[in-house]
């Protein structure tokens, strides 16, 4: 049984059919990359899974439990956390308060401190900046914060929507290292990325999305060597 299973998903924006019947799965322990051009529908799929936008058809299960119509705010209690596109950290709050909100669904002061220490070890800069207003962080620091905020709830499944967007190569590496680390520590990852090469390099499997449809799937290595993929997404 897959950890996350998406079946025949369809999403419409008014009359526009953005997702036209997409199925895929993420198994426990995997990193699965979802790649595709701008406007292919990657973010739409993420938002449909987490209940931020309604699904026109299809269903989603998490650990076998049907979460198709579970309200967005309940999913984190079921072990699913997300770094949304564009980070969406709380700009007016401090770094520390953002991390507290990441822990909103959890209880226990000692565990909170433990998690906090863990995040600060991953990203020491966040510790230095803990009382800084998050909106004043640099883009890369904000991305680290968004990532840490999502990890505060110790999710089983982490959805990442373009975590490296707008970052310089050094920051991109830091973020990808973090993804690999949390995965090794037991978090399953669904990763949407523009940086297809890097994503497929760390992914166990990948799916290729083209205007609302899945056109290809395979192991990360297979897709990296696929001629069409290389042409279309890897600048080959």
């Amino acid at each position: 049984m897959a950890l996350l299973e998406v079946k025949d998903l369809e999403v419409n924006y008014g009359l526009i059919k953005a997702i036209k019947g997409v199925s895929f799965e993420v198994n426990e322990g995997e990193i699965v990359a979802l790649i595709g051009a701008n406007g292919a529908g990657k973010t739409t799929i993420m938002h449909a899974i987490n209940g931020i936008i309604p699904k026109a058809r299809g269903n989603v299960t998490l650990q076998g439990e049907d979460i198709t119509s579970t309200p967005a705010h309940k999913l984190i209690y079921k072990g699913m956390a997300q770094v949304p596109e564009g980070r969406r950290i709380f700009q007016e709050l401090t770094v520390f308060e953002n991390l507290q909100l990441g822990y909103y669904s959890k209880k226990g002061k000692a565990e909170f401190e433990e998690k906090l220490t863990e995040m600060y070890e991953h990203f020491p800069i966040l510790k230095q900046r803990s009382s800084q207003i998050a909106g004043t962080l640099s883009g890369g620091e904000q991305q680290m914060l968004a990532m840490s905020r999502a990890m505060m709830s110790s999710p089983k499944l982490l959805l990442l929507d373009e975590p490296s967007m707008g970052l310089s190569p050094l920051y991109v590496n830091t973020i990808f290292e973090m993804i690999e680390t949390v995965n090794k520590q037991g978090t399953t990852v669904l990763l949407v990325e523009q940086n297809a090469k890097k994503a497929l390099t760390i992914a166990n499997r990948g799916y290729v999305l083209e205007i609302g449809k899945m056109v290809k799937t395979g192991t990360g290595a297979d897709l990296l060597n696929d001629e069409e993929i290389v042409k279309a997404y890897l600048g080959g």
Partner: protein, 288 residues
């Protein structure tokens, strides 16, 4: 000496405006709507005090706060919640409808003649040449306590933090596990019980009430909220106090007194022209 008295009165009137303005601003921040029925909650609170006054004044105040708290929750659930996601205009018109409904109900139950609601005769405090009503002092002290408490609540409690998160980014807040509906309910509950309290303090100043009792303070407090920066809690406090002081100063100058209300709205217009987001308001890019 007269000026000191005017200032003290202004601070206490401003405190009342601030208490009401907090309701407008918090609801706007969280639910992104202008609750034009908020002023009428003050009126309902006043009549509730009237009903329970014969038993005990303190009980009457507590009953008024509880009743308004529940009324705020019910109004939100019945009138506004079904319109989540509807056009702002539809929500605004509904709020105006709720306002007329509450006023009409009061008219049917209590009639149009003013009722006297004398909660307590508190007397005056004489310091040298100045005599200040104890009601003014109590209003002032309560305002300060409420503002401090609310600020601490928002800054240091889990619910308070969730409120800030919701006001900034609803979807991101949901991803954290925050139940938006619950936060909106709490916001209406806090705002409405503060409105009831504002009604009590107004009645301590002038002990008469009619079904339209809440309209003027409601509009003034809304003005205060906009002047301070709608959506901002410190803004509502600053705006309320500012407007109260302006009102008392204008009223104390015979040549200006007839134009007090006009001057207050003129200030609103000027501030909107100079700094549309209000004194403490932040310019926030609206996300789609």
């Amino acid at each position: 000496m007269d000026f000191v008295l005017t200032l003290v009165n202004g601070l206490s009137l401003g405190g009342i405006y601030a208490m009401i303005a907090l309701g407008y601003t918090m609801v706007y921040g969280i639910a992104k709507m202008l609750n034009f029925a908020h002023g009428d909650i003050i009126m309902v609170g006043g009549y509730t005090v009237l009903i329970f006054l014969s038993i005990n004044p303190i009980l009457a105040i507590v009953a008024s706060m509880i009743f308004c708290l529940l009324l705020g929750i019910v109004v939100e659930k019945v009138a506004y919640k079904p319109l989540r996601g509807a056009s702002p205009l539809a929500v605004l018109i509904t709020a105006i409808g709720v306002s007329y409904l509450l006023q009409s109900l009061a008219l049917i139950i209590f009639g149009a003649q003013p009722e006297y609601v004398i909660i307590a005769d508190l007397g005056v405090l004489n310091i040298g040449e100045i005599s200040i009503g104890y009601n003014t002092i109590i209003t002032l002290v309560s305002t300060v306590i409420i503002m401090i408490a609310l600020t601490l609540f928002v800054k240091y409690t889990k619910i308070g933090r969730a409120m800030v998160a919701v006001s900034e980014d609803k979807d991101a807040a949901r991803l954290m596990g925050i139940n938006i509906n619950m936060i909106i309910t709490i916001t209406f509950a806090i705002g409405s019980s503060l409105a009831a309290l504002a009604g009590v303090f107004s009645l301590l100043k002038v002990p008469t009430i009619t079904p339209t009792y809440g309209s003027m303070p409601g509009i003034k407090a809304f003005t205060a909220a906009v002047i301070g920066g709608i959506g901002s809690i410190p803004g509502a406090m600053v705006g309320g106090i500012f407007l109260g002081i302006v009102e008392c100063i204008c009223n104390s100058i015979p040549e200006l007194a007839p134009y007090t209300i006009a001057i207050e709205f003129l200030i609103l217009i000027v501030i909107l022209l100079v700094k549309p987001s209000g004194i403490l308001g932040k310019k926030r890019r609206e996300k789609v």
